[in-house]
């Protein structure tokens, strides 16, 4: 996006429910809790919100009026409303879409919501190649795809088992201090625990994968001018954003390890005039640990095959030189279905607003947020996104 670098858009607040396994609740119920919390924290009246963007919810399946249902249930009457269905990239994507809608004059104050109760009920149906050609072949969901990607990485470079173990332990340290993380995941973890965890689809281990849960997050977006008029002092500005959907469609016989991050990483950095070494902390989409290794390699932090060495050479904990997913990420906090990107987004904002408590990083003046969405047939993931954010001083 060309319109973010002037810091004309501000995020003024965030909220998150506790992540919970099989809560027995609905996406609307979880959303209501997150929105109440957001309004209480920001002091913004519900009636001032005139824009609304949500992620989809697997727990709500194919409801064709989902965003309208939420708006009605949450008591919002808006001039701009949409549900964004680019999977795990939707939470960050909604910030960018809200910015565009505000700058186009369609609305003034936007609620960006992510809520899903997928571990209570999964009503989603993925029509198309998933049901016609993948499930009949034996495909068991994203972990089948990531197992095959991991096998391919292993063939080419050798899987960096030590670095994957370090990532698992690093993020778990954050989850131990994150009261919103799923309780079942808030147990200390060692590298040995990771290495000895069960192979679910070789070479993928149980602790390579996210656990589904229920949860919601909410973020308030407006113009920086409006934020200042309303008296907000702490602001976080999205200053650059790039996304790619259906990366490299004709390369079905090409390099399957290469994802859209090779496109969106350089574009997002160029828009901001940054390079990877300018980034203070990483809040990266982490449905599988191997996805983090590929992001290091494909957004320019290191070269192909060097992700493991990069991880081993850096302290990525909340107290380290390049903090990564300081609240545990989705791997150690839980993945609330299609609201999963909100876990990374909210922890990013929590750090930037200086509210991360005992896991507060030393320098949260800027951050890099990523999103990953949907698995393509016999290829890599389909959607990749990068957002760069800066805190106002």
């Amino acid at each position: 996006m060309k319109t973010l670098s002037d810091r004309g858009i501000a995020i003024v607040g965030f909220a998150e429910t506790k992540l919970e396994r099989r809560s027995g609740r609905t996406a609307l119920s979880l959303a209501g809790e997150a929105v109440d919390q957001l309004l209480a924290r920001t002091g913004v009246e519900r009636s001032r919100i005139d824009g609304f963007a949500t992620t989809l919810a697997m727990s709500e399946g194919g409801n064709p009026f989902y965003s309208n249902l939420l708006a009605e249930g949450l008591g919002l009457s808006v001039t701009w409303c949409q549900a964004t269905e680019i999977g795990g990239a939707s939470s960050g994507g909604n910030i960018a879409r809200a910015a565009a809608a505000i700058q186009a004059g369609m609305c003034d104050i936007v609620l960006c919501l992510a809520s899903d109760a997928v571990s209570t009920v999964d009503r989603s149906v993925q029509s198309g190649h998933r049901t016609e050609y993948a499930d009949p072949a034996g495909y068991a969901g994203p972990l089948s795809a990531f197992a095959l990607l991991s096998n391919l990485y292993d063939q080419r470079y050798g899987l960096p088992h030590d670095a994957l173990a370090k990532l698992a332990v690093t993020q778990r340290k954050g989850a131990l201090l994150n009261e919103n993380a799923c309780e079942v995941l808030r147990k200390p973890l060692t590298e040995r625990d990771y290495l000895e965890s069960k192979l679910v689809s070789s070479p993928l281990r149980m602790l390579d994968c996210v656990m589904r849960c229920d949860g919601a997050s909410a973020v308030l977006v407006m113009s920086t001018q409006r934020a200042k008029e309303m008296g907000f002092r702490k602001l976080v500005h999205p200053i650059s954003y790039a996304e790619r959907i259906n990366f490299d469609p004709t390369e079905s016989c090409g390099d399957m390890l290469k994802s859209g991050f090779t496109d969106v990483g350089p574009r997002a950095f160029a828009n901001a005039g940054w390079k990877p070494s300018d980034v203070k902390m990483l809040h990266w989409y982490d449905d599988f640990l191997i996805a983090l290794i590929l992001q290091f390699e494909q957004t320019g932090f290191c070269g192909p095959g060097e992700g493991g060495a990069f991880v081993m050479a850096h302290d990525l904990t909340y107290s380290g030189e390049l903090p990564l997913n300081t609240g545990g990420g989705q791997i150690s906090a839980g993945q609330p279905g299609l609201a999963g990107g909100g876990v990374n987004l909210v922890e990013c904002l929590r750090q930037m607003f200086g509210e991360a408590g005992r896991r507060q990083v030393r320098d949260a003046s800027n951050a890099m947020l990523t999103g990953i969405g949907v698995l393509q047939y016999a290829r890599n993931w389909g959607t990749s996104s990068v957002m760069l954010l800066e805190r106002s001083e």
């Binding site: 009949p136 034996g138 972990l143 391919l152 070789s202 004709t250 079905s252 016989c253 016999a378």
Partner: protein
């Protein structure tokens, strides 16, 4: 084809081919490049596609031993599942009817037409 059990429209020739023991693929009408899964247009140009039988031969490109399965295969775990690099170019996700430990990357495989599941989706086996 029974009208009460319609085949998916774009992929109908593929599924009909399985019943006839032929692996049908789409080929670009101009440059001959093959694609899978079936799409309403060619990935490689605007000349359209035509359906032709493929060899049914390929090699193992990526491999996993899956301990998880979709509902209809819950009784079959663990099984070897692969991305098969078809001789004609595209990759196909498929089970391989062989012990996982006996398989290696690059190994030649062929559609196992005698496997009962191949009637609904190809299962491969090591080439003789």
């Amino acid at each position: 084809m029974s009208p009460t059990n319609p085949l998916p429209d774009v992929g109908a020739p593929f599924l009909q081919g399985l019943r006839d023991r032929r692996l049908m693929l789409q080929f670009d009408r101009a440059n001959g490049r093959a694609q899978f899964y079936p799409r309403p247009q060619s990935l490689y140009g605007e000349a359209g596609v035509e359906w032709r039988p493929a060899s049914g031969r390929g090699t193992l490109f990526a491999l996993t031993q899956s301990g998880v399965a979709p509902p209809h295969l819950q009784g079959a775990v663990p099984y070897a599942m692969a991305l098969v690099q078809l001789e004609e170019g595209p990759r196909m996700l498929a089970r391989v009817n062989a012990p996982y430990d006996s398989l290696r990357i690059g190994q030649a495989v062929t559609v196992d037409w005698d496997h009962p599941d191949t009637r609904s989706f190809p299962v491969f086996k090591p080439a003789a």
